[in-house]
C-alpha cells in the first residue's frame, strides 16, 4: 500500500492532485483479505476522461456487487504525476486501496481509442508488470491483463501485451471468466503454472479472444494469408458477445470530486443503432438495437439522482432520438424534475422537426447550444454514407432552433469521405453559411455557428473498411477551402490534425506486427497521444521505421475483397457480404433502409438467432 506520507511528498507538486486520491461518493471499499478475485479497472487516459466512461461504471458496479470480487479504479497519471512517481520510486496504484496494480489478480483495461495505446504500456510499466503477455505467462503471480471496449474489434496491434480480450458486451463474460479463473486457480497444484490452462479454457467462452492462441501467416507482399488457431478446439472465429436484454442500469456511479468531462448522471436508454450509417463503426459493431423499457429508465433516473446529487441526467445511446418512447420519456422526465431544476440532455440530435420538438421539451430554461451531425454537405454524399438527411432538413431545423431561443449551433462534418470531391466540400461551406443566414434573420448578430470538420478514418467492420485514408495533402486542400469560404467571425471552424489522423488510422487498421511499433514509440516517450500537446508524430514515424514497417501500408492502401483483413477472425455477426454490398451501394449513391423500416439482412439476426430484430414498437426491451 502506498502510504499517505509518501503521497504527501509528491502530490502537492502535481496538477489536480485529487485525480489520485479517490474517496469519492459511491466508491466501494472492500476488505482486501476477504476478496477472492481482485480486479483493477484501468482507463488509459486521464481521470476526468475515464470517469466519464459509462462502460467502466457498469462493470465497477456489477463487480462490486459480487461477494468474492473486489474492483478498484486506476487512470493514466498525467505526465507530471508519472515523473513524480518514477522519481519517488512508487508504483502505479488504485484509487480505493492505494495498492500497486501488480498486487491485483486482473488488470482490465477499457480500450476506447487507439491513441491511448501508449498509455496502456506506460501504466503496465509504472505498475512494474512485464509488458508482454509471453513474459507473464510463466509468472503465476503476475496479473492477468484483459482488454475490453470498442478497440477489441481489432485488437491485433495490442495482441502482444494482453492475455485476453473480451469482444462485445462484457457484463456476462466477465462473471463467467471470474468463475473459471477461480475454479482453475483453486484446482491447480501448488507449483503448477495454471495460467495456460486457464487461457485455453477461457478461449471457449463466447466473446473471449486469447490472441496468443492464434497464429498469423503473412504473404511476401506483407498482407495476411491466414489467421489460424494453434490448438484443437479453439474457435476459428471469435464471435462478439451480446446481451439479449439490457442489464440493469448502474444507479450508484462514483461521483467524482474533480469535475469529469461529462459531469452528470447517465442512463443508457438503448444499445445499438438502427440507422446503418456506412462510415460508423459503432453502428455496425453494436447491433442489434435493444431498448430499455421506459418504466425501467424512469426508475433508474429516480435512483440515480437520489444517489448522486447530480443536476443533469443524460439519456445516452448511439442515437437517443431514435428511442421509440423518447418523446413521452422526455416529457415525463421534464415534468417530474422541473421543480428540482434537473436538466435533461441528449448527446446529439438528428436534424428533423421531431428532434427540435424534443429539444424544446427538455431545455426549458437555458437555451445555449444545440449540436447536429449532418456529416456530409451535399445530398449526393449524404446518400453515399447513408446518413439520409438533406440540407433542407438542416435549414428548417436551424430556423426552428433559432426561433425558439437558441443562439449557438454546432455542426459536425467529415472530410475525406469516400467519393468526396471539392464540390462536396464547398457544399459544406454553403450549408454553414445558409445556417448562419437563417440565424441572423431570426436573431441578429449574436448568432454563432461552430463547425467541426474531422477527417474520416475508414474503420474495421464497416462497409468502408477496404478503403484507404484520404491522403493528407488533399485533406489539407479541403480544410483550406473551408477556411477560405468560412471567414466570418460568427463561424468557428476546427478540424482534426493530420498527425493524429494517420496514427489513429494506422493503429485502428493494423495487424499484430504493430505491437513492436507501439512498444518502441512508448520506449521513446510516447504518452497521451490523444492530447495534441503531447503527441509526437515524429517519434511514431521513427518507431515504424525502426521496426521496418510502413504506416502507409496500413493507412493508404485500397484493400481487395479477398484480402484477409487483420480483424477478419473477429465476428460481429454482420457478414462481410453485407458490408461489401453496402460499400458497392455507397459507390452508386444508393441509400439503404434503416432497421425499423426493413431488414437489410446484415447477418446479425441469423448469427444470434434473433426472432424480432429490432424490437418492434415501444417498451419491448428484449430481442429473442
Amino acid at each position: 500500500m502506498i502510504s499517505e506520507a509518501a503521497l504527501d511528498r509528491i502530490l502537492p507538486k502535481v496538477t489536480k492532485p485529487a485525480r489520485y486520491t479517490g474517496q469519492e461518493w459511491n466508491r466501494v471499499r472492500k476488505d482486501w483479505s476477504k476478496a477472492k478475485l481482485k480486479i483493477a479497472l484501468a482507463y488509459p487516459d486521464v481521470y476526468e476522461i475515464g470517469m466519464s466512461n459509462l462502460g467502466l461504471a457498469i462493470l465497477y458496479e456489477l463487480l462490486s456487487q459480487q461477494d468474492d470480487i473486489l474492483a478498484e479504479r486506476v487512470y493514466a497519471p498525467w505526465p507530471d504525476m508519472e515523473d513524480a512517481l518514477r522519481k519517488a520510486g512508487l508504483p502505479l496504484f488504485t484509487l480505493e486501496s492505494k495498492r500497486p496494480l501488480g498486487e491485483f489478480d486482473w488488470i482490465g483495461f477499457s480500450l476506447q481509442y487507439e491513441l491511448n495505446y501508449s498509455n496502456v504500456l506506460n501504466m503496465l510499466d509504472l505498475a512494474e508488470v512485464p509488458l508482454l503477455a509471453s513474459e507473464r505467462v510463466d509468472m503465476p503471480n503476475a496479473p492477468l491483463v484483459i482488454g475490453g471496449g470498442s478497440c477489441t474489434y481489432n485488437a491485433e496491434p495490442l495482441a502482444d501485451f494482453f492475455d485476453l480480450f473480451v469482444v462485445g458486451e462484457g457484463e456476462e463474460v466477465v462473471l463467467e471468466l471470474a468463475q473459471l479463473y477461480l475454479a482453475v486457480k483453486a484446482s491447480a497444484a501448488p507449483e503448477e503454472n495454471w495460467k495456460e490452462d486457464f487461457l485455453l479454457r477461457a478461449a471457449h467462452i463466447e466473446g473471449v479472444y486469447v490472441a496468443s492462441l492464434y497464429t498469423v501467416h503473412y504473404q511476401s507482399d506483407g498482407t495476411i494469408s491466414a489467421i489460424e488457431p494453434m490448438k484443437a478446439g479453439v474457435p476459428a472465429r471469435i464471435r462478439k458477445r451480446i446481451l439479449r436484454k439490457l442489464p440493469p442500469a448502474p444507479i450508484r456511479p462514483v461521483v467524482p470530486f474533480v469535475r469529469a468531462v461529462h459531469d452528470r448522471a447517465m442512463v443508457e436508454v438503448m444499445r445499438g443503432c438502427k440507422r446503418g450509417c456506412r462510415f460508423c463503426q459503432a453502428g455496425m459493431i453494436y447491433r442489434p438495437v435493444r431498448e430499455r423499457p421506459m418504466d425501467e429508465i424512469l426508475e433508474a433516473v429516480d435512483q440515480l439522482l437520489a444517489n448522486t446529487g447530480y443536476k443533469e441526467i443524460a439519456l445516452v445511446s448511439l442515437s437517443s432520438t431514435d428511442y421509440t418512447c423518447i418523446e413521452p420519456l422526455a416529457r415525463e422526465l421534464s415534468e417530474r424534475y422541473a421543480a428540482e431544476r434537473i436538466s435533461i440532455s441528449l448527446p446529439s440530435l438528428r436534424t428533423d422537426a421531431f428532434s427540435m420538438a424534443l429539444a424544446q421539451i427538455i431545455q426549458r430554461t437555458r437555451r445555449t447550444g444545440l449540436t447536429f451531425a449532418p456529416e456530409a454537405g451535399s445530398e449526393r454524399l449524404s446518400r453515399v454514407i447513408n446518413k439520409g438527411v438533406t440540407g433542407e432538413d438542416l435549414l428548417r431545423t436551424a430556423r426552428a432552433a433559432y426561433a425558439n431561443g437558441w443562439l449557438r449551433i454546432k455542426l459536425y462534418f467529415m472530410l475525406g469521405l469516400p467519393t468526396e470531391t471539392m464540390e462536396d466540400v464547398l457544399a459544406i461551406a454553403n450549408l454553414v453559411k445558409a445556417v448562419l443566414d437563417v440565424g441572423r434573420r431570426e436573431r441578429g448578430r449574436r448568432v454563432q455557428v461552430s463547425v467541426s470538420a474531422n477527417t474520416f478514418v475508414p474503420k474495421p467492420h464497416t462497409p468502408f473498411q477496404w478503403l484507404p485514408l484520404q491522403d493528407a495533402a488533399s485533406i489539407r486542400e479541403r480544410q483550406m477551402a473551408l477556411r477560405k469560404e468560412l471567414r466570418d467571425r460568427a463561424i468557428k471552424l476546427n478540424w482534426s490534425e493530420a498527425d493524429e489522423t494517420w496514427l489513429e488510422a494506422a493503429l485502428s487498421r493494423g495487424d499484430r506486427r504493430l505491437g513492436r511499433v507501439i512498444q518502441r514509440a512508448w520506449q521513446q516517450g510516447a504518452r497521451f497521444d490523444a492530447w495534441s500537446e503531447w503527441l509526437q508524430p515524429e517519434l511514431w514515424r521513427q518507431a515504424f521505421a525502426e521496426v521496418g514497417l510502413h504506416p502507409e501500408f496500413y493507412t493508404s492502401r485500397q484493400r481487395s475483397l479477398d484480402e484477409v483483413l487483420p480483424w477478419s477472425h473477429i465476428d460481429t455477426g454482420v457478414s462481410d457480404s453485407f458490408l461489401w454490398d453496402e460499400y458497392q451501394r455507397a459507390l452508386h449513391g444508393e441509400p439503404s433502409v434503416d432497421c425499423a423500416e426493413g431488414c437489410m439482412d446484415c447477418g446479425v439476426r441469423a448469427a444470434f438467432g434473433l426472432v424480432g430484430c429490432p424490437p418492434a414498437g415501444s417498451g419491448r426491451g428484449t430481442v429473442n
Binding site: E4, A18, W25, F257, R259, G309, K311, E340, T365
Partner: protein, 220 residues
C-alpha cells in the same frame, strides 16, 4: 424579497486529510451534491442558470486540512436543526465531517465578509531543537517587515507578510514533530498564508501538515 419562511443555517465542518487535495471549487460542488442527495429545500438564485445559495467563509488552499470550516446555506423551507444535521451526515463523503449546525439571521451580511482572521497549526519535522524553533519564531516576530514575492500567472507582486502575522508560537510536540501555531489576518485587505510564514521562517521543507483550526469572525 425574502419570504418569511426562509432559513439560514451555518454549518461548521471538517475537511479531513482524506480529501485535502480537493480544490475549493470542487469542494463547493461536493457540498451542493450532498445537500441535494439529502433532499434539502435549497433556495436558489434567480436567472436562467439558478444556483443554490451556498456561501463559504473562506477558501481553503489545496493540501490544507480544515478543522472548523464554515458555510452558510439558505433553505426555502424551515427545517429542524437536528433533522437537517442527521439527513446531511448520511450524505457526506469520506473526509467531510459535520461539526455543528446553527441558525443565523437571514439578514446577516454574507459570511465571507465577516471573516477577520484564521488560526493555523503547522506540524513540522526538522533537525531543529525546540529552542532553535523558538528562536526562528522570535526572529520573525521581531522583524519590521518581511517582503515576500507572490507569483501570479499574470504578474509578480511584492508584499509585506509581517503585518499579516498576528500571533506565532510553538504549540507543542507531537511524536517527532513540532507544532507551530499562528494567527493570520484573513480579510479583503490581506490574507496571510501559513506556507508563506513557514517559508519566511526557512522551514518550508520541514512542513508535514497544515491545518486551519479556527476562523475568526467579526462580531455581528
Amino acid at each position: 424579497m425574502t419570504p418569511q419562511s426562509t432559513q439560514r443555517l451555518r454549518i461548521v465542518f471538517r475537511k479531513g486529510a482524506e480529501i485535502k487535495y480537493i480544490s475549493h471549487l470542487d469542494l463547493m460542488c461536493a457540498w451542493e451534491r450532498a445537500l441535494r442527495r439529502a433532499d434539502m429545500p435549497l433556495a436558489h438564485s434567480r436567472g436562467f442558470n439558478p444556483h443554490p445559495k451556498l456561501s463559504f467563509a473562506s477558501a481553503l488552499p489545496v493540501g490544507f486540512i480544515g478543522r472548523a470550516e464554515m458555510l452558510d446555506v439558505i433553505l426555502e423551507q424551515r427545517l429542524g436543526l437536528r433533522d437537517f444535521a442527521a439527513r446531511l451526515k448520511a450524505q457526506l463523503p469520506c473526509g467531510l465531517e459535520l461539526g455543528s449546525v446553527t441558525e443565523v439571521p437571514v439578514a446577516l451580511p454574507p459570511l465571507p465578509t465577516r471573516v477577520a482572521a484564521a488560526e493555523y497549526e503547522v506540524a513540522v519535522q526538522s533537525q531543529d531543537t525546540p529552542d532553535q524553533v523558538e528562536a526562528r519564531l522570535r526572529g520573525l516576530l521581531a522583524a519590521e517587515s518581511i517582503p515576500r514575492r507572490r507569483e501570479r500567472p499574470d504578474k509578480i507582486r511584492i508584499y509585506d507578510l509581517r503585518p499579516l502575522v498576528q500571533e506565532l508560537h510553538v504549540v507543542g510536540r507531537l511524536k517527532d514533530m513540532t507544532v507551530i501555531g499562528m494567527r493570520l489576518q484573513s480579510n479583503a485587505q490581506g490574507t496571510g498564508r501559513p506556507d508563506e510564514v513557514m517559508a519566511a521562517l526557512g522551514m518550508a521543507e520541514a512542513v508535514r501538515v497544515i491545518e486551519r483550526v479556527r476562523l475568526i469572525l467579526l462580531p455581528d
